[in-house]
């Protein structure tokens, strides 16, 4: 009954979309909303922002001045410390956190940073991170504690966090830039804002997760309210809180890098972008590697502290005190020594290792030698995958690329083919799949960006309504109207298309890899470190190799999106498949299922909620990368945000930013609800992976 109604709904939708595409020309404003009726929001927004800055600008300038101090202090300290001293301290911390392996890795990485000549830039970025993380952690912890205490606060905080985390990184920067002016403070404020939400989330999860008995034991030990919180609850939630610090650190680093791209300050992120603009890809990659190494060290270190098996011995422990004294002694010694040995203070220019030019030549050779193959890959994907989805078969198929035109005959054949496939599905009693396939076939013919807005909106609204109920449906209506009325529909569909293709590929390939990894330990062991590394990378770094080979353009953007968004698809699929109830699998085995049957008929359906959450994360990762790809010239909303940022045009950038957030929130709502529905149906609970 319910099924029938669903099939009917989707059937009507398919019919509606088909009609819209066929009669697109006569739909008028329902197909393409006329420019004349765009809501003129940008000018009032800019005016409002201007008067806000005029009224309160001094306050923000004051805050900026205050915030400059810790940055100044941190930068001065790092600049003063001779690099061997910093290296020694970091190695020692790495050793404490995660043992000898990480210490060696940190040591080698930092030597690389020195020898390659990016030490001062690295330290400048690092200074921002060291200032912003404690601020984000403190802010996040207290907001988290508040959300834990008060149910009302919790109701406000959680959706705000969702909102903060869906707003694209560049959009954060715009108001901050206008309020605080250029400079390192922008990076600091943005990175605090970007980094504190995960801290809040983890704090709440951690504080809530402390078992009731531990709390009762604390009460029975005679703890006062305050003692119960600080001596029992907080330390018991320590691991989760430290994981929050880990995530906050990574978010902070990635924002610092992005901010330095915009700010054009003397940071390592800027180094990457400026060399990239000069087509010095070798140098760009080398600088990118610095960021990557920094990310890995920070990640492994904070993660290590969160997961330490043994506690740090107390401060009163004589051993600890001795080792502190030794550390202090060595650092002091290195500082003194550096006064006499100049290379310890500053690595001389002429001693730098400069493989950049060689790499550029090699890259040149490579691209020349394999030009045909590279072009072929690019063109094939472009003409046979990307263009059809973007513009639809009706425009993408031309004699020039496909070898034939989309004549009425071909169109008829295509219709027949779609009809045949749907017919088969229908006859096999898969009505819903048949209808959805028909819809997809029609969309592919019409093309995402060429479809009348009313048709595409109808699809999203129906999907949201079906999955998430009336509320989500109405939200989606509002979101779609926002995109249409503010006049950003066109770039928005480009975003949807780029992200959609990226997510589709990531999800299909990623789930396949995830399945393989869950079935085979060797595959898992190979895949694991790769995705762990990809996951820690600030998204910007992932762009570099693709820009090197394919230069700027949509194809590069797409590859970068896939490289980044494939990570959650793999992780969640493997996780879901590996964490199924043991007994169910054993039961399936005892019934006599083959391995494939078990996978398809038992494991995958049961892992579906987790895989769905993976899709959710894939989309979120895809969107956050999409925004970054504005740097390589995609022509979507991300580009508008970037342009708004460049011109200081608050209205344009903000509307595009909100538009992107709207898309993200709708996608998030749909996939989250889909996963929840499945969890409910299967009676199991799946959490987001840290």
């Amino acid at each position: 009954m319910l099924r029938d109604r669903t099939v009917f709904t989707w059937g009507m939708l398919t019919l509606f979309v088909a009609l819209c595409i066929v009669f697109a020309d006569s739909l008028g404003p329902l197909a393409e909303y006329p420019k004349a009726y765009f809501l003129p929001l940008t000018d009032p927004m800019n005016a409002a922002m201007r008067s806000f800055v005029e009224a309160f600008g001094t306050i923000f300038k004051g805050i900026a001045w205050l915030l400059d101090w810790p940055i100044f202090v941190a930068r001065t300290v790092y600049a003063y410390l001779p690099w061997p001293a910093t290296l020694f301290i970091v190695c020692w911390l790495a050793y404490l956190a995660n043992g000898r392996g990480l210490a060696i890795f940190a040591g080698v990485s930092m030597c690389y940073m020195v020898v390659i000549g990016y030490w001062p830039e690295t330290m400048n970025s690092f200074a921002l991170v060291t200032v912003s993380v404690p601020m984000a952690v403190i802010v996040g912890f207290f907001i988290g504690a508040w959300g834990f205490r008060s149910a009302r606060a919790h109701r406000v905080i959680m959706p705000s966090l969702d909102l903060l985390q869906t707003i694209p990184a560049f959009a954060y920067l715009l108001p901050i830039l206008l309020l605080f002016g250029f400079g390192a403070t922008v990076g600091l404020v943005a990175s605090v804002l970007f980094a504190f939400p995960p801290m809040v989330r983890n704090t709440i999860i951690g504080l809530r997760g402390v078992s009731e008995e531990v709390i009762e034991a604390g009460q029975m030990s005679g703890a006062t309210k305050r003692q119960l919180f600080w001596n029992v609850r907080v330390p018991s939630a320590r691991r989760q809180i430290l994981l929050g610090i880990n995530q906050a650190t990574m978010a902070s680093l990635s924002m610092v890098i992005i901010a330095s791209i915009i700010g054009g300050t003397n940071d390592i992120g800027w180094e990457v972008l400026s060399t990239m603009r000069k087509a010095l890809f070798g140098e760009s990659l080398l600088a990118g590697l610095v960021i990557a190494l920094m990310a890995m060290i920070l990640d492994r270190m904070t993660w290590g502290f969160a997961n330490r098996k043994r506690e740090l011995a107390g401060a009163g422990d004589p051993n600890t005190r001795r080792s502190w004294q030794i550390i202090a002694g060595v650092v002091f010694g290195l500082i003194v020594l550096a006064q006499f040995i100049p290379i310890m203070k500053e690595w001389p220019r002429e001693w730098r290792w400069e493989p950049g030019p060689v790499m550029n030549d090699a890259l040149q050779d490579f691209t020349v030698t394999y030009r045909l193959a590279l072009e072929a890959i690019k063109n094939f994907s472009f003409f046979f995958v990307m263009l059809p989805i973007k513009l639809g078969l009706q425009e993408a198929v031309s004699p020039f690329t496909w070898g034939f035109a989309m004549s009425p005959l071909v169109t008829g054949l295509y219709a027949l083919l779609v009809f045949a496939i749907c017919g088969v599905a229908w006859l096999r009693d898969r009505q819903l799949i048949a209808v959805v396939l028909a819809l997809l076939g029609i969309c592919l013919y019409g093309g995402l960006t060429n479809m009348p807005w009313i048709a595409l909106s109808a699809i999203f609204v129906t999907l949201a309504w079906q999955v998430g109920g009336r509320n989500l449906g109405l939200w989606t209506v509002a979101g779609m109207l926002f995109l249409v009325l503010t006049g950003i529909w066109e770039p928005a569909t480009t975003s949807i298309y780029l992200c959609g293709v990226g997510v589709l590929v990531s999800f299909v390939v990623g789930s396949a890899i995830g399945v393989a990894a869950s079935e085979n330990d060797t595959v898992s062991a190979i895949v694991r470190p790769v995705i762990d590394t990809l996951q820690t990378m600030p998204p910007f770094v992932i762009l570099i190799p693709f820009v090197m080979i394919f230069r700027i353009g949509e194809f590069t953007a797409l590859l970068a999106i896939i490289a980044y968004a494939i990570v959650p698809a793999i992780r969640y699929t493997e996780y879901g498949l590996r964490n199924l109830p043991e007994e169910t699998i054993e039961a399936a085995t005892m019934i006599g299922s083959s391995r494939l049957q078990r996978l398809w008929q038992v494991k995958l359906p049961l892992a579906m909620p987790s895989i769905m959450l993976g899709l959710n994360q894939t989309i979120m990762f895809g969107i956050s990368m999409l925004v970054i790809t504005a740097l390589v010239g995609s022509t979507d909303l991300g580009q508008q945000i970037y342009v708004g940022l460049g011109d200081g045009d608050f209205g344009v950038g903000m509307i595009a930013g909100v538009g992107m957030a709207v898309i993200a929130m709708i996608a998030n709502g749909i996939t989250q609800n889909a996963s929840k529905n499945m969890q409910r149906k299967l009676g199991m609970q799946v959490d987001e992976l840290a």
Binding site: S211, E213, V214, E216, A217, G218, Q219, M220, S221, G222, A223, T224, Q227, N231, V232, P235, S236, R238, R310, E311, G316
Partner: protein
């Protein structure tokens, strides 16, 4: 204590008509109206404990036994005020605990009460010694003093050598020893144990019960011990209460419960009991005179320990040290008791 006649020992802890209701609008008024638990349940509330009364004497092990969901944890949490009773009185040394301010309550918990939890409730971030010293730390005792003190308690529960281990490095039995040590660190007068051994393997459980009895013989605390295991209750209890659906069904010495179950519900539990381990010679001997030349044992001797002698002889003399009564127990009596224990005791009474 007003109600107890002078001369009677005053109970250490007494629980008077304690109710605990859960539910949106569950308050005292329902109870004041004199509604029965069924009526309150029908009104849509959860009755976790209903009109529970019992006394715990100084140095006594009082066991509360019941199936899961019968309200045992609720009642012990009302006693320690981890849960606020909806109505009733809880008297500790004659003072109503429910009237204590939160400050007084903290003080009472710091000095008079200790509690052991089913899943141990250990602080994951503290090692064994620090866990045990934790209550002392909260009181503001200096580091050296409290660690010394904790070390003594750690030795008492047999954990020396594991002082610096963390809870996740210990087995379940060891973790519960830490839990016990922590609850004893403040030298409490009343000691609550909520299913302390239920999470342990049967062998370890047995060992821990012995250990517990040994500790109690040294420490002589007033104890409320919760369990869902009837045999455990029998081994440990001086007196016990059986709970069902929040209500106390029967209170008495284990043997009273076995010999005179209040209803079928209690009888269900007693059915599986290995009688020879529970019954004492005094419980089943008859008033016939003791023939000459026969060995005499104390009335509290377990029947099981007499079986070898009875296999060789017709009967055995039984003497009650306190009352001086003497009676005679034959092998036939034992067999009759084991075969139809309940009826035997009934006819005895008649």
């Amino acid at each position: 204590m007003k109600t107890s006649p002078a001369g009677d020992p005053m109970p250490k802890l007494s629980c008077r008509n304690v109710w605990k209701l859960y539910g949106p609008a569950a308050d005292k008024s329902l109870i004041a109206q004199g509604m029965t638990p069924e009526q309150i349940r029908d009104a849509g509330h959860i009755v976790a404990s209903a009109d529970v009364s019992f006394d715990v004497m100084e140095g006594e092990i009082f066991v509360i036994m019941g199936l899961s969901g019968s309200g045992k944890s609720t009642i012990v949490r009302c006693l320690s005020r981890l849960v606020e009773a909806t109505s009733g009185e809880i008297l500790l040394d004659g003072e109503d605990l429910l009237k204590a301010s939160s400050k007084e309550l903290i003080d009472i918990r710091r000095h008079k009460m200790g509690m052991v939890f089913q899943s141990f409730g250990l602080m994951p971030h503290l090692n064994v010694l620090e866990n045990v010293a934790f209550p002392l730390k909260l009181q503001g005792m200096g580091a050296k003093e409290r660690l010394e003190h904790a070390q003594r308690v750690v030795n008492l529960v047999g954990l020396e050598g594991r002082e610096h281990s963390y809870p996740n490095q210990l087995s379940g039995g060891q973790q519960q020893r830490v839990g016990i040590a922590r609850s004893l660190a403040v030298e409490p007068e009343v000691w609550f144990l909520d299913e302390p051994f239920s999470a342990l393997d049967p062998l370890i459980r047995r060992q821990m019960q012995d250990e517990f009895l040994r500790l109690q013989s040294e420490l002589n605390k007033s104890i409320v011990f919760i369990t869902h295991d009837f045999l455990e209750a029998l081994r440990i209890a001086d007196r016990m209460a059986i709970m069902k659906d929040g209500e106390v069904v029967q209170i008495g010495r284990p043997v009273d419960l076995i010999l005179n179950p209040a209803n079928d519900y209690v009888r269900e539990f007693t059915n599986d009991v290995p009688w020879e381990l529970v019954l004492t010679a005094g419980d089943i001997s008859s008033d016939r005179p003791i023939p000459d030349g026969i060995k005499t044992v104390d009335a509290s001797a377990g029947v099981a320990s007499l079986l070898p002698y009875l296999a060789e002889n017709d009967g055995i003399g039984v003497e009650n040290k306190e009352s001086g009564e003497r009676s005679y127990l034959t092998g036939r009596d034992v067999i009759a008791a084991l075969a139809t224990g309940v009826q035997t005791s009934d006819t005895e009474e008649a």
